[in-house]
Amino acid sequence: MTGAGMAVSEGTARPRRPSSVIVGCLLMVARAVSGGFVIITVFSRWEEFTATIMLDGDRPTSQTASAVLGWLVGGYGLILVLYLGLTVLVFRGRNGARVLALTFASVSILVSFADYSLNGAQISLRTSLVSVTIDILILLALSSTNARRYARAVRAARHDRAAR
């Protein structure tokens, strides 16, 4: 017997969203929100942050530094927005989006783990423990059998509708 999933047998009805997907998406939102806080922090202390920017070993003019920081923050913001878009797709049961979200979480975890085991980086509450925790929880939630079956069932339901 394979894990074909009970939801598929329900035909074209939209399968019920399991809690693992809901929790996984909430965690993804939390990840994006924590990124949003970083942006707010940068905006609130703009002068301090521009002062730390170095280009080719030199300190640029404050205007250039502002522009560079603006681009960095803007780029990061765009990534966060795209990540939220990905969250919506995961929530709606897109398997590709789920695999992409899993890949992001895995890469982030593996990079942290490499840093931890090879460079002896401290992972504590003051550093990156919270974000590592969120990534691992996302990985656990979205890789669960329920989440997998849900994505497959949604796809099957979609193909079913398309075929009719």
Binding site: M1, G3, S19, S124, L139, L142, S143
Partner: protein, 304 residues
């Protein structure tokens, strides 16, 4: 000599998506172990915060790390075909299958309702929260949900229960699975439903996952006989086929680590003769050898 069916051809084809999923599944298992280590390390630096972290650590271990490790390992070594045992959602061997029923869905529901059983709510956030508060406050919750157990690779179709002494910690309960079409019990008996009935005697921690769960009474045969007796009492048309030594008698543990023992007999409750909603029951076809008249008990024993 009957023709033997062809041997299943070769290995199952595995799709790249399935391999990727398996990779993420196992990686998440390892990552969760690492997270447990990180939390334990972090907690050492906290004074009174240690207590708060200990709870967090237990929750992580019990609800994420251990279930995932069990899932990975049991997938490798616990058989996925019918061996007369259900499996927990973590893949561990669960309560024994100790009942079978022949009859329509309506007949099963009607018979259980008549016998004083209450259908359990589905597990949702709301019903889970309610069973926690009811247990803590010792308030009655007649329709308390039961945990999911798997058979035929799916969760039970429905479950029934009888609360004891208005205490949600103690209850009779039985889960039902509809058998796949054309499926037969080992030995070639055709039934419509199989069921697993056990008695919850208290709330405690699972031995394997450390999760909060119901502990079941060791004597599963007593519960099985209680279910059969209650239905036979309420539905006089019930026929009973008792398959003696369906399994060897055994002592084992269920998915929560509670000891269980059984004599291995399997009663098959035949409800086909029961009238439901104005429709008369259909007596089983004559000549299948083991039916008998209404209310009768037929025992099937081995050859020797």
């Amino acid at each position: 000599m009957p023709e033997t069916p062809a041997v299943p051809s070769g290995r199952r084809r595995v799709s790249p998506g399935a391999i990727l999923d398996a990779f993420f599944f196992v990686l998440a298992g390892f990552a969760s172990v690492w997270l447990a280590v990180l939390l334990a390390t972090e907690s050492l630096g906290l004074g009174w915060g240690l207590l708060w972290f200990a709870v967090l650590f237990w929750a992580l271990l019990a609800y994420l790390v251990l279930p995932r490790l069990h899932r990975i390992l049991t997938r490798l070594y616990v058989p996925d075909y019918f061996i007369g045992r259900t499996r927990t959602s973590d893949g561990l061997l669960g309560d024994p299958v100790n009942l079978a029923v022949t009859g329509s869905t309506e007949q099963v529901h009607a018979a259980l309702a008549a016998a004083g059983w209450t259908r359990a709510d589905d597990v949702t956030l709301a019903s889970s929260w309610r069973i926690v508060t009811a247990t803590v406050r010792r308030r009655s919750y007649l329709r308390a949900p039961v945990s999911p157990l798997l058979l035929f690779d799916r969760v039970q179709d429905f479950a029934y229960q009888q609360e004891v002494a208005n205490n949600p910690a103690k209850r009779h309960h039985v889960r039902f699975w509809r058998c796949p079409d054309g499926w037969m019990l080992p030995g070639g008996h055709r039934v419509d439903w199989v069921a697993a009935g056990t008695f919850d005697r208290a709330v405690g921690l699972s031995l394997f996952t450390l999760q909060v769960t119901h502990k079941i009474d060791e004597h599963t045969d007593v519960e099985r006989d209680h279910i059969v007796a209650s239905i036979r009492h309420a539905v006089p048309q019930t026929r009973l086929v008792l398959i003696r030594d369906f399994a060897t008698g055994y002592h084992s543990r269920n998915g929560g680590g509670d000891t269980i023992q059984t004599d291995g007999d399997l009663p098959v409750i035949d409800l086909r003769g029961m009238p439901v909603a104005g429709r008369p029951g259909t007596p089983p076809p004559a000549g299948d050898g083991v039916t008998g008249s209404e209310g009768s008990v037929v025992e099937l024993t081995g050859l020797s």
